[in-house]
Amino acid sequence: MTALVAANHIVKTFPRAGASERQQVLFDVSASVGAGECLAVIGGSGSGKSTLTRIMLGLENADSGDVSYAGMPVVAGRGGRLPGSSDGFRALRRESGLVFQNPFASLDPRWTVLRSVAEPLVLAGRRLSRGDAVEVVSRALRTAGLEPEDMLDRLPSELSGGQAQRVAIARAIVAEPRVILADEPMSAIDVTARVQILDALNAIRAAHPDMALIVVSHDLGVVQHLADRILVLHDGHMVETGPTETVLGGPAEDYTRQLVAAASL
């Protein structure tokens, strides 16, 4: 499979408060995801999994290493300059969707579900009548497991955590992106709602067979029914990577074994 998004030999450091030397958070990490594939990036707090996937989506710059999208370089500018210079970057921003941990923080509290979910269409410059927008948004909500008639006019304050996260997922897919990043999409909600999110993400994969999905999680139990491939990170180092079945069935590294143990009942 040729990679849709590929990150090679990524090194990343952050300034450390009150210290002159910088703290390294990624050590020569490479990762890729192909069209139609789901990659899960797994690791504990501070493992660098969010930083790696943000770099893959062009949301952050690497210190060294390169990122490509559909064969085009995603150019990482330096010195605080917006990394918006390359065609690869612009295409990636246009053709990707994002889902974050806290759905209420990513939904405007004053906007109805219809307006929030339709926003990416507006930003993409799609000119739609209200009727067409309702239809497109309704389709996205249904794919995410929500009943549109019941949802379109609600405000975020009228949603449960699980519903709000599915609204955020509907918004991420509404403009038919080629790649979606879901960063800890189930951490902030209860177990029952987590299963709904898992089902919604699987339904989206089935409805968009060419879409690539990158899921970030600290929980192997969550990704076992979702991911094709797993990359395990620990303290910024790649621990192991491989097909989900291989990594879960026979983890080669001690750290992965700990993650497997922690996800067992």
Partner: protein
């Protein structure tokens, strides 16, 4: 008897949030309260601690070590909370004082509720930090210098410093990653058992409950839907609410045969 709740009802703005709950935690027992978000499980614990929100109306009885909490004076409740109970909260980053060192946080309950000299307090804090697996050098640090797991260990040290007879743990691991989650649950269980104390453990997750408790109550819509040994509820849930929570936990738990969707083995479901 550690906790004895009889016919507890709580309403907020006229809306019932706890409905006729009977619940007990025996001395040295670890008991779970499990339910989805909004099921009312935290309200039950808050009634017991006298921490209900303003405007909540409680009736019935909730006794802590033989002292009635419903309708009790604030001084009685504060003394109960300080001496008899230790509480571990969900988000340690938000419950620790950002401008106090670990030493000051952990010794505060001793300063408030006990008449001890400074050296005696410091000795106790140092020994407690070792018990929760923290290096003594942590004593001089501030919360922001600690990882989430270390912060929760400080939270546990603060809850246990007065040698309480009952630990109330309200979703203590939800904000932590899965490996740290397991470490914190195992730490709590060993500390509670070593001290011969009781624990009321509140969570939405059966996979955590299976490690933390031997018996539990399933709360649904403010009422007890089912009660029993945790291992039995996992293996043979009766009530719809229990079945839903168990099914969710199983879906999100690695099976022995990882890619098999259903079913999964339960032989490790009991108390350790």
């Amino acid at each position: 008897m550690g906790v004895d709740i009889r016919g507890l009802n709580v309403a907020i703005g006229g809306r019932p949030v706890v409905r006729d709950v009977n619940l007990s935690v025996g001395d040295g027992e670890r008991v779970g309260l499990i339910g989805s978000s909004g099921s009312g499980k935290s309200m039950i614990a808050k009634s017991l601690l006298g921490l209900l929100p303003r405007g909540a109306e409680a009736s019935g009885s909730a006794a802590l070590g033989g002292t009635e909490a419903i309708g009790a004076a604030e001084r009685t409740l504060a003394d109960l909370r300080g001496r008899y109970v230790g509480v571990v909260f969900q988000n340690p980053g938000a419950t620790l004082n950002p401008v106090a060192t670990v030493m000051r946080q952990v010794e505060l309950p001793l300063r408030l509720h006990y008449d001890l000299g400074r050296d005696e307090r410091r000795d106790r804090v140092m020994s407690m930090l070792r018990k929760v697996g923290l290096d003594e050098s942590v004593a001089g640090k501030y919360p922001h210098e600690l990882s989430g797991g270390q912060q929760q260990r400080v939270g546990i040290a603060t809850a246990l410093i007065t040698s309480p007879r009952l630990i109330v743990a309200d979703e203590p691991t939800t904000a932590l990653d899965s490996i740290i989650q397991r470490q914190i649950v195992d730490l709590l269980v060993s500390l509670v058992d070593d001290a011969g104390a009781s624990m009321l453990f509140i969570t939405h997750d059966f996979s955590v409950l299976a490690r933390a408790t031997t018996r539990c109550y399933v709360i649904d819509d403010g009422a007890v839907a089912e009660e029993g040994r945790t291992a039995r509820l996992l293996a043979a849930p009766n009530a719809d609410a229990t079945r839903g929570l168990v099914a969710s936990a199983r879906r999100l738990t690695l099976s022995a045969e990882p890619m098999a969707a259903e079913p999964m083995t339960v032989e490790q479901g009991g108390a350790r």
